[in-house]
């Protein structure tokens, strides 16, 4: 059964090819169904393969299709490595992707490029599967870049708007910065270990010099930072929300952005072999990312921006987990996060859809009654991410915090603060969207105008606000609701994968044991400590929710005292980088271009001009006077005489 592995990526690829060539002819609903079916089938195959994998020794199966790049000792195969880690990834990638495909059929209804959307989505799923299934770094890089390209296509899917186009470009280029690290890391791996195949070089990792391992890990970490939106390369992710919402859900929340985490977990032997400062760096960057993104999320007005920063924040958590050695915790959180974040994005999409492309939370409110299914499923997601037991997010986040505490109390405290903020801003979102007053009527404008005066960062498009007057929110079609329900279900119960109470309940840890077990930090949680951590987490989550309740529903505290402009502007990191690139960077580029045209080209043309100029001057010698010519002959003769006489030895 496990031999069917090749089908998993092939099905979406086939879907992609069919849609690419025939998409337009197939037309709107069918193209969507086709794409969904392909991914759904892929999920089914994945389940079958999963069942087959149990019988494999060490739960590992390798399949090599053909040699991709053969060059002497450098051999790269198109080959798949199916082990517990990639199996887990494959299952949740295909599963969630199938749901989101289904959702998109409803969401993208009526779009002029409907088939194209599914073409890209299928290609994305294919690339993502290559990323997780690839048995070597180069093939992973293929998937890595493939998802990047798809992300680019999909972010700028509605390219008629310049922001969308810019956002796509920004995502791609920022990712490329990370790719630089990925490539250099790959080079070093090959240089130091002579192969890029995971199963060959990872076992060698314990033997290599710490500095080499550190360098490899650091370079790959740079790659991961780009893809997984860690500070400072996180700037692209919030902008990426310009894409259609299913894209945000699938790519920029559930799957692609977790690729960095996947990579880090995949190379855990190298992380283990590297100098101790490197895991610390990863943990600190993860923690800082989580913290900073959470503060930013607090002050966002755009519903998708909140979710985007929340994603960044959660990715920070995952990196924190990687840094502190909690690889299985990272994967655990990755999976639960995939469920609830996809859920919330889709819910947000449903809201946006129902609100006729309105994304500003200040114009929402009290949607609970108009969109009951959306609201209820969203609430599940909210509870999950806020860390309210027994929803999945509680368990996974707690797992990470446990590892963090094991490493350092400071990280733990920061993690808790971030968790508090997470609960706060998610509650803020829920309260403003689904509760409170309906602000999507005419009365909203005056209030908004008032707000705008204070808050420059408000992303309100005044042209569209006219259209917003006639908004009549409605519930979304069934194709969109089914995925919501499914995801809500899993968001609620996914925690059972890895309950911390007894060893036996830690299914995921056991499952991942062959991959990460050797390098996983060892936790010996006594019952008391466990209880302490669980209770602390619960309190923190409830505190966050309660705080938001007071601020946004009861309005006891002025929201503006919390939603600082500094946060709203994302700590000015994005602006800073943009200003730098657009200012000094651009200047530098212009200077170089100027150098090219003035100095280098100028030198060439200058030689030409100098020759010409010299010739023009020389031309004056040929002045037409015959006596002058005779003089030239005479002088020439004299010079020759002079030379000749030097040859004479008198």
């Amino acid at each position: 059964m496990v031999e069917l592995l090749w089908l998993i990526p092939s099905l979406p690829l086939a879907g992609f090819l069919v849609l690419l060539f025939l998409g337009k002819r197939i037309g709107e609903p069918v193209a969507g169904w086709l794409g969904t079916a392909m991914v759904g089938l892929s999920f089914v195959v994945a389940l079958v393969v999963f069942a087959g994998l149990w019988n494999q020794p060490e739960h590992t199966y390798e399949l090599s299709l053909f040699t991709w790049i053969p060059a002497g000792s450098f051999q790269v195969d198109i080959g798949f490595l199916l082990d517990p880690l990639s199996m887990a990834m494959v299952l949740f990638v295909t599963g969630i992707a199938a749901l989101i495909h289904l959702y998109s059929i409803g969401y993208m209804h009526g779009d002029s490029r409907f088939p194209r959307f599914f073409t890209y989505l299928n290609l994305f799923v294919f690339s993502m599967l290559m990323l997780v299934l690839g048995d070597n770094l180069v093939l992973t890089f293929l998937g890595w870049e493939g998802v990047g390209a798809c992300s680019y296509f999909l972010i700028s899917f509605w390219f008629e708007k310049d922001e969308n186009a810019s956002a796509g470009k920004k995502a791609f280029i920022t990712n490329r910065v990370g790719d630089w690290g990925f490539m250099v890391g790959t080079f070093v791996v090959f240089f130091a270990l002579g192969t890029v195949k995971y199963t060959e070089f990872l076992p060698l990792a314990p033997g290599i010099a710490a500095t080499t391992a550190t360098f490899i890990a650091f370079m790959l970490f740079i790659g991961a930072m780009g893809k997984s939106a860690q500070i400072p390369l996180f700037i692209w992710l919030p902008d990426a929300m310009a894409g259609p919402t299913p894209v945000s859900a699938l790519i920029h929340a559930a799957t692609m952005v977790t690729a960095g985490v996947y990579l880090m977990v995949r190379i855990n032997p190298i992380l283990a072999a590297s100098a101790s400062w490197l895991p610390w760096t990863i943990a600190i960057i993860g923690c800082a990312t989580a913290f900073i993104a959470a503060t930013i999320a607090i002050a966002q007005q755009d519903i998708k921006k909140v979710l985007a920063y929340s994603t960044v924040s959660q990715l920070g958590f995952m990196f924190l987990a990687v840094g502190v050695g909690g690889y299985s915790a990272a994967i655990f959180h990755m999976i639960t996060h995939a469920f609830f974040k996809a859920l919330m994005f889709l819910g947000a999409g449903s809201v946006i859809h129902g609100m006729h492309e309105e994304q500003d939370m200040r114009r929402m409110g009290a949607l609970r009654k108009l969109m009951p299914v959306t609201a209820i499923t969203f609430l599940v997601g909210w509870l999950a991410i806020s860390g309210v037991p027994p929803f999945s997010g509680f368990w996974s986040k707690d797992d990470i915090l446990a590892y963090a505490l094991h490493k350092s109390p400071v990280l733990y405290v920061f993690g808790l603060i971030t968790a508090l903020m997470t609960a706060f801003y998610m509650s803020r979102l829920v309260f403003r969207v689904f509760y409170g007053d309906a602000r999507w009527g005419e009365s909203a404008d005056a209030e908004l105008a008032n707000l705008d005066a204070h808050d420059q960062s408000a992303t309100v498009d005044h042209d569209e606000s006219d259209a917003a007057h006639a908004i009549h929110p409605h519930e979304s079609p069934r194709t969109m609701l089914i995925p919501l329900v499914v995801l809500a279900f899993f968001s609620a119960i996914a925690g059972v994968m890895n309950l911390p109470f007894t060893e036996k309940l830690e299914f995921l840890d056991h499952w991942l044991e062959p991959v990460v077990g050797a390098n996983q930090a060892v936790l010996h949680l006594g019952g008391g400590q466990l209880a302490f951590e669980l209770i602390t987490s619960t309190i923190v989550a409830l505190t966050g929710i309660g705080l938001a309740y007071y601020v946004y529903l009861k309005k006891r505290i002025d929201a503006r005292r919390i939603e600082l402009p500094f946060f709203a502007n994302g700590w000015y990191i994005d602006q800073g980088i943009t200003a730098f690139m657009g200012g000094i960077g651009r200047k530098a580029f212009e200077m170089i271009a100027l150098f090219d045209s003035v100095v280098i080209d100028g030198a060439v043309n200058g030689v030409g001009r100098a020759t010409r100029g010299g010739a023009v001057r020389l031309r004056n010698v040929q002045n037409g006077y015959v006596r002058w010519y005779a003089l030239m002959i005479g002088v020439g003769a004299v010079v020759i005489m002079a030379f000749v006489l030097t040859q004479v030895n008198f």
Binding site: R619, Q622, N623, G624, Y625, V626, R627, A630, L631, G634
Partner: protein, 102 residues
């Protein structure tokens, strides 16, 4: 052979040659210029004769005849050209020939 150079004659010839050359450089009248060339050729003739005498070789003298013939032929052509020129542009000197330059 160079031990008993008749330096006086050779120097005279050289001086004549230089006079001829300089004359060509400083005079503008085409006729005079032709004469200067003749002077140069005759300076060479003197040299030939001197060397012939010095080497005790008849051919030095014989060469002079050749040179004279050549010089005569040259003068013929030169004069013809001068005539043709002054027919078209009376009174023109060598410096007026400046249509062609650059």
């Amino acid at each position: 052979m160079t031990t008993n150079l008749p330096l006086a004659y050779l120097c005279l010839a050289a001086i004549l040659f230089v006079i001829g050359g300089v004359g060509l450089l400083i005079r503008r009248n085409p006729l005079v210029m032709i004469m200067c060339v003749e002077l140069m050729l005759n300076a060479v003739n003197l040299t030939f004769v001197t060397f012939g005498q010095m080497l005790n070789d008849i051919s030095g003298q014989v060469i002079v005849f050749f040179v004279m013939v050549v010089a005569a032929a040259e003068v013929v052509v030169g004069l013809a050209l001068v005539v043709a020129m002054s027919r078209r542009r009376p009174g023109a000197n060598a410096d007026d020939l400046r249509l062609l330059r650059g």
